[in-house]
Amino acid sequence: MHLSLRVWRQKSASAFGRFETYEARNVSADMSLLEMLDEVNEDLIASGGEPIAFDSDCREGICGACSVVIDGVPHGSRHGTTACQLHLRHFKDGDTITLEPWRARPFPVIKDLVVDRHAFDRIIQAGGYVSVKTGGAPDGNAIPIPKTDVDRAMDAAVCIGCGACVAACKNASAMLFVASKVSHLSLLPQGRVERERRVLAMVRAMDDAGFGACTVTGSCEAVCPKNIRIDVIARMNREYGRALLKAGFVE
């Protein structure tokens, strides 16, 4: 098939960017979108041009590296799919596809389609863990955990930290990301011990990083490649309220 591409090109963080047009000729419908970009880059390199920079690693939808807005939708409009798993069979011959980086103030563009997502790491560093050291852990079966709790914890823990939720939100809110971690850990007995401290610290880090407020539009849920449900946000809000009450103050 033959596709036309409008791709955001930006030399560096401080440079101005603009769309450039490329043609992807003779590509196969079995290719993924990123494999097509590989091909376009091969041609660009061979003809002395500069290849399009984009992040990717696993190409299996699990590492969360790939981050391309496809025709206005982070990871494209196929449900529960990362850009690296989006195959060309879902496009029509002759289509024009527009590719852009995540656009959100806390995720500055580094180059072309590559953005800086360190803000997510900082949020986890603020409290997205269980404070246990290596060694001395009790037997893994010492505390039985109801299967339903583990299953719900895992439904939230599947987050790949790609940032599509932020890119889709008109306020650039990171609530889905933060709530996934808060839910995962607060659903398990191991994580419950420091649940109050965790949620307060993570929310503060999220605000400090410049992410916007959540107005519950659900656009994050719609683009999440792991189908994480917006329910986790409700759970986090409850956790947050609970933590504030317990801490004895309400802002």
Binding site: K11, S12, E35, D38, E39, E42, L44, I45, A46, G48, G49, E50, P51, S56, D57, C58, R59, I62, C63, G64, A65, Q85, H87, R89, I110, K111, D116, R117, H118, D121, I124, Q125, A126, Y129, V130, S131, V132, K133, T134, G135, A137, P138, D139, G140, N141, P144, I145, P146, K147, V150, A153, M154, A157, V158, I160, G161, H184, L188, Q190, G191
Partner: protein, 638 residues
């Protein structure tokens, strides 16, 4: 240079316990004085960095991705082994040990493997404490599944995302140490050289992948946790960014490289669909718990729809050849059996390069819901890539390059022959011999990082060997200059061929001549061709952009340049090893019924290669393998 593995004396079962209490300790107050550079943030690297920081060392951790959480370990699907005997099916430390030694076809070091089996249970406990949501039964206890090469169920898992959850556990532990100021993380930073001063590893040279700046970091010890080199084959199940640069640079600085030819081909991957494909997708071995592998009995049936082929015309070749292990035969054996039936013209799908993995029986027995629960995400992944629903039609599978058992040589302390250079996880060679069993890579990475290195590195510091090398030592500037010159050279060739075209050609050559089956003639041809290809690369490669910016083409070029050297060592090692063992099948060494013939009399050793300069052949050192406990027997899974 004699290689001493420093295996402690005494009975196998008590070696590690006794040795641990003999190891030197660093006083908590003094730990702050030691800088440890951990290169890699996968399971082994993140576990080590977190644990060392908890102990009080000053840790710097490096990875090339934009976040530590994206290391390749994230992609592991199936599970992690541990001898907890949760199923009351007769598992024990000694059984896990024996299975792993046998799975590795008696080419791994006994004492290391025993220790690994001993530590395995503590890993699961540690991960549970971190909040890893392992699968549980209705009663709330941990659930297990079976994996290849074992007759007990000892594999712990988190749906089809075990690696992800284990890695996030380690990443979160590391994040906590970062927030406490005990560790610093350098992302989008690639190590391009090792700095060795007076025979001791003293630092690394790195490139900031965003600015292109070259800088060095000095440390009292360097830990390489940089993963395997399966990507050398171009098409593999590894992530695109996996590479061999760190270990290869260390080799060129004097670290010996062990068993480079021991590479693993995974039997169940989604077959290649077209020539532009850049990577292959693994379907977890856990699928073989419930999936049955078959091809048509007759070649004429191969083009027919699988559903139209009656039971009696199907050949369940793994069940037929290996009745006691059946579909759960170890990877090397299953891969080879698959290649055999396809070579005999009975493969299915494009080019006849595929076999069926059929869930029909399991679905009939357990119901579709139970299947969905077990493998839902894998079926989904298959459908996404193939556009076919595996609940209705069998999956099509073909073997693909997956894992590298070979790696830098390390002793019992996980230290290489270079003082102060520790190597952990897939990057070392230590525990899997000639073939790794499923679900034991994660186990080894975490054992190394959480429970072994933190003890042995302390001993290195305590024994007073390391001397401080200041960051302004001329050794650093010299290494930086070399790195800069090499990158400049890559950019200056400005030839006609892209980096990928070289990589693809190398991959094809290796797959054909140094893949599942190897022959003297094929290997000799590869050894003739690789230097030619390398010369063509340096004479005709085209790398775009400059060194002072984010330049993925340059990153790739540098990695492929290293593959063009490493591949030669791999073939050289394969040629030397004139026996069939594990993933290494030599056509010159087969039994009468066509099975692999191992040659213990001549090859029961670890082959460790020493670099002696570009224009000299590397030198082979042999570390003999002696077994006290395991009996070297011919592997049989029949």
């Amino acid at each position: 240079m004699p290689l001493d593995a420093h295996i402690p004396s005494g009975p196998l079962e008590s070696k590690w316990e006794r040795h641990k209490s003999d190891l030197g300790l660093v006083h908590p107050r003094h730990k702050r004085k030691y800088d440890v550079l951990v290169v890699g943030s996968g399971l082994s690297g993140a576990a080590a960095a977190a644990t060392l920081a908890e102990l009080g060392y000053r840790v710097k951790c490096f990875c090339f991705q934009d976040s530590a959480r994206r290391a390749h370990s994230i992609a592991a699907q199936g599970g992690i082994n541990a001898a907890k005997n949760c199923c009351n099916d007769g598992d024990s430390v000694s059984r896990l040990f024996r299975d792993t030694i046998k799975g590795g076809d008696f080419r791994s070091r006994e004492a290391n493997v025993y220790r690994l089996a001993q530590i395995s249970a503590a890993i699961i406990d540690q991960c549970v404490a971190q909040g890893v949501p392992f699968a549980r039964e209705y009663g709330g206890l941990l659930e297990n599944r079976s994996f290849g090469g074992a007759q007990v169920s000892r594999t712990f898992y988190v749906r089809g995302q075990t690696g992800q959850q284990l890695l996030l556990g380690a990443y979160q532990a590391l994040s906590r140490q970062i927030s406490l100021g005990n560790a610093r993380m350098f992302t989008r930073t690639e190590m391009l050289d090792l700095v060795v001063i007076d025979g001791q590893a003293k630092g690394i040279v790195v490139r900031d992948l965003v600015s292109g700046e070259i800088a060095s970091h000095a440390g009292d010890a360097v830990v390489l946790a940089t993963g395997g080199y399966a990507n050398m084959f171009y098409l593999s199940t590894n992530a695109k960014g996996c590479n061999a640069t760190a270990v290869w640079r260390a080799y060129r600085r004097g670290a010996v490289f062990a068993n480079p030819c021991f590479t693993q081909i995974h039997p169940t991957c989604i077959p290649v669909s077209d020539e532009h494909q850049c990577k292959l997708t693994l379907m977890s071995e856990s699928l073989r718990n419930d999936g049955r592998v078959w091809v048509p009995r007759r070649r004429e049936d191969c083009a027919k729809a699988p559903g139209s082929i009656p039971e009696e015309d199907r050949d369940y070749y793994l069940e037929r050849k290996y009745p006691s292990f059946g579909n759960l035969a170890p990877r090397d054996i299953a891969s080879r059996a698959t290649k055999e039936v396809c070579d005999a013209g009975r493969g299915v799908g494009p080019g006849g390069l595929g076999v069926y993995l059929d869930f029909g029986d399991a679905i009939r027995q357990m119901g579709i819901e139970r299947m969905r629960e077990r493998y839902g995400n894998l079926f989904e992944m298959y459908e996404r890539i193939r556009g076919e629903n595996a609940y209705e039609v069998p999956m099509r599978m073909y073997p693909a390059m997956h894992y590298t058992m070979g790696g830098l040589w390390v002793d019992y302390h996980l230290m290489s022959n270079l003082q102060g250079l520790f190597v952990i996880g897939e990057a070392n060679f230590s525990d899997h011999g000639a073939n790794r069993l499923g679900a034991s890579g994660l186990m080894q990475g975490l054992a190394d990082g959480y429970f072994i290195l933190p003890y042995t590195i302390g001993h290195y510091f305590a024994s007073g060997r390391p001397s401080k090398a200041p960051a302004n030592h001329p050794g650093f500037a010299a290494a930086e200059t070399e790195v800069k010159a090499r990158l400049a050279r890559l950019l200056s060739v400005q030839g006609k061929r892209t980096v990928t075209s070289f990589h693809r050609e190398l991959g094809r050559l290796l797959w054909n001549d140094c893949g599942m089956t190897r022959s003297e003639a094929g290997l000799r041809e590869a050894l003739r061709r690789i230097p030619e290809l390398r010369a063509e690369f340096w004479g005709d490669v085209k790398v775009s952009g400059s060194g002072g910016e984010l330049n993925q083409d340059l990153e790739r070029a540098n990695q492929v340049a290293d593959y063009l050297e490493l591949s030669e060592l791999v073939c050289r090692d394969a040629l030397m090893r004139r026996e069939s063992c594990g993933g290494h099948f030599r056509t010159e060494s087969v039994t009468e019924d066509g099975e692999a013939k191992r040659d213990d009399a001549q090859f029961a050793f670890v082959a460790a290669w020493e670099f002696r300069g570009e224009d000299r052949e590397p030198m082979l050192h042999k570390e003999p393998l002696e077994y006290e406990e395991a009996r070297m027997s011919t592997r049989s899974y029949r």
